[in-house]
């Protein structure tokens, strides 16, 4: 189907001298219309930002696959990925390094979308899953399996998913009063996070030395040693839930104007919110099960995406791309920036995210929002 016309509707106009600040000069929204009455709105800047972020994530992936004891150039990596490498290269890439990088990409995207949904519903940049106790819930689930049942990796992952989901249900029910609203969700979530953290500490004190070590390693969040067994379930969940969430993105934008406004526009507010929150909880739980609680990605990715796209409202696709790129860059940093010592990626996101959180708190405070 060919594009019949491409009109540039000016969401903005070039601005003469003074009023530069109160006009939005960087965004242009294009209307793309095709034969048959189809029409799409494309925010040029958001589109470019997403394209660049995806490119950055792919580039980081290629570099990551190439780095390690057996170093490969990006060219070699690409050749091998297309099936033209040596037997040894093939083994290293497809069996050892590709799954790890794929887990990183998927976990980053899942955390990005999950975080964007939660921040939008709670109308608060601090209302992200790792502040609201979902990571902690998954940790309690995983640690219960490690410490009390001495389970293997699959059982631990299942425990993490179950822990995250149960926390999600509990927080939703406790925060529900004729619909879920921002502040209550954040407060209930922070309470849950504190309680669950206490439970993880208690579980560690109960554990023997081997289990305690496993528990602490799990809780740091890492991509080390991830293989295809982690990729498939994660890929399946992401393939269903990320498009589902993106499909509800327009509704979510309407809900940001308030329940009444969204309602009067014909959005089924509570049903949309429940669908999106369940998807977000599940995405975060599965991501945490695959890589441990990698902190601050779900907090920072949506905010970074917003500042890059400068578009109002949740931009779920951009948040997904930012999360994926952010996580792989953090992983590369963890592997290479500290000399011979390789750190788990969770340590790097923790440090970066901590600085970011401080900055966020200060700037939100200045803006008078908290």
């Amino acid at each position: 189907m060919k594009a019949a016309q491409d009109t540039t509707e000016k969401a903005t106009q070039a601005t003469p001298k003074k009023a530069a600040r109160d006009r939005d000069t960087t965004r242009t929204v294009h209307a793309v219309r095709t034969a048959g009455g189809f029409s799409f709105r494309v925010d040029a800047r958001a589109f470019a930002v997403i394209a660049l972020l995806v490119a950055a994530a792919v580039f980081a992936a290629v570099v990551l696959i190439g780095s390690g004891d057996y170093a490969m150039s990006p060219g070699q990596v690409v050749t091998t990925l297309f099936g033209n490498g040596t037997f040894q290269q093939e083994f290293i890439v497809t069996e050892l390094r590709l799954p790890r990088v794929l887990v990183g990409l998927l976990v980053g995207a899942a955390l990005g979308v999950g975080g964007a949904v939660f921040q939008s519903v709670s109308r608060n940049p601090l209302g992200s899953p790792d502040v609201l106790g979902f990571g902690q819930g998954s940790a309690v689930g995983a640690l219960t399996v490690i410490v009390l049942f001495h389970g293997g990796p699959t059982e631990v992952a299942a425990g993490a998913v179950a822990g995250g989901l149960l926390t999600g249900v509990a927080v939703y029910l406790l925060a529900w009063k004729r619909g879920v609203h921002g502040y209550r969700l954040v407060l209930v979530g922070i309470g849950a996070a504190a309680m669950l953290t206490a439970v993880t500490h208690y579980l560690i004190t109960k554990a023997n030395l081997v289990d305690a070590t496993r528990a602490v390693v799990w809780m740091t969040g890492s991509l080390d040693g991830r293989d295809w067994a982690q990729v498939w379930p994660l890929l399946a969940v992401c393939c269903v839930l990320i498009p589902l969430a993106l499909g509800h993105g327009r509704d979510l934008r309407m809900i940001e104007m308030g329940d009444d406004a969204a309602h009067s526009l014909g959005v089924r507010v509570e049903r949309t919110r429940l669908t999106l929150l369940s998807s977000a909880v599940l995405l975060v739980a599965v991501a945490t099960a695959a890589a441990g609680p990698i902190v601050f990605v779900s907090l920072s990715a949506p905010q970074v995406a917003r500042r890059l796209t400068r578009a109002p409202g949740p931009n779920l696709a951009a948040a997904a791309a930012t999360g994926a790129a952010l996580l792989l860059v953090a992983d590369w940093t963890a592997m290479n920036a500290f000399g011979d010592r390789q750190l788990p990626v969770g340590v790097v996101t923790g440090v970066l995210g901590g600085c970011y959180l401080l900055w966020l708190l200060v700037s939100e405070r200045r803006a008078g929002r908290i």
Partner: protein, 267 residues
């Protein structure tokens, strides 16, 4: 049969009942204003009429069908609501916000038709915010912002438009400004308007049809000139007053009795 009616509805939140067996008909092509003292159930009634609140019993009918059984988007193409408080997302422009009014007419494959574009432009022009199209909403004054929200509701292109206290938080000049705009929309575009207003004199001046509520029951309804009397005001609001002709429009003007006379009367 009018397009929008409430048929002996019982309304309440949780266990608290606000109105019982309330029946109301909104005359087509009227500018209906609902008045009454605080907590008389006027906003609750508006929420029920806009399908935001489901009645415990009875039914709200839109074109003869139960409004709660109709698809949400279909209702939103017939009936719009301007809520009392809405949140303008950070960093949204006026044009962006107004274009969101087109949501019920759009879909995943039909996101921005030439018609959408034209109607958004018209809505901004008829509310006088065309000049502000590229400005950020959070930098506008309260009066301008309310006009933008009205523009968004207009872009929804619904024959019925409900407004929940559209003049709250505005100073007197902007209150009149918003009400003039409503009157104009009613007269020139033939839309049916239903508003909840606090100010009885505004209601009497602008409404073509007035509904006076007290304790969840209709005390009187009709043209303001026919029903607004000192007796009615005392019955509905519990306040002694004189009703004189508004020197500007000839509509009823309620003048509260002086404190001394009210005190004397109660002794």
């Amino acid at each position: 049969m009018q397009r929008l009616t409430a048929d002996s509805v019982t309304l309440g939140y949780d266990q608290r009942i606000i109105a019982e067996n309330l029946s109301v008909e909104i005359p087509d092509n009227s500018f209906t204003v609902i008045v009454g003292p605080n907590a008389c159930g006027k906003s609750t009634l508006l929420r029920a009429l806009s399908r935001m609140l489901k009645p415990d019993s009875g039914d709200v009918l839109l074109d003869g069908q139960s409004i709660h059984r109709l698809p949400a988007k279909k209702v939103a193409r017939t009936l719009g609501l301007l809520p009392q408080s809405s949140i303008a997302p950070d960093g949204i422009t006026v044009a962006d916000l107004v274009s969101r009014g087109r949501y019920p007419h759009q879909g995943l494959l039909r996101q921005w038709s030439p018609e959408d574009e034209r109607i958004v432009k018209e809505s901004m022009e008829s509310t006088g915010v065309g000049e502000l199209a590229d400005r950020y909403v959070d930098e506008l004054s309260g009066g301008q912002r309310q006009r933008v929200w009205i523009a968004m509701a207009l872009a929804q292109q619904t024959p019925l438009l409900l407004l929940d206290e559209p003049t709250t938080y505005l100073d007197i000049q902007h209150q009149i400004d918003v009400l003039d705009l409503c009157a104009e929309l009613h007269e020139t575009q033939g839309r049916t308007l239903v508003a909840v207003l606090h100010d009885l004199n505004h209601a009497a001046r602008y409404a073509t049809h007035l509904i006076a509520l007290r304790d969840g029951a209709v005390i009187a309804e009709g043209a303001p000139g026919d029903i607004v009397t000192a007796q009615l005001v005392e019955e509905v609001f519990g306040m002694r007053c004189q009703v004189i002709d508004d020197p500007e429009t000839g509509t009823p003007l309620v003048v509260p009795a002086a404190r001394k006379r009210r005190v004397a009367a109660s002794v």
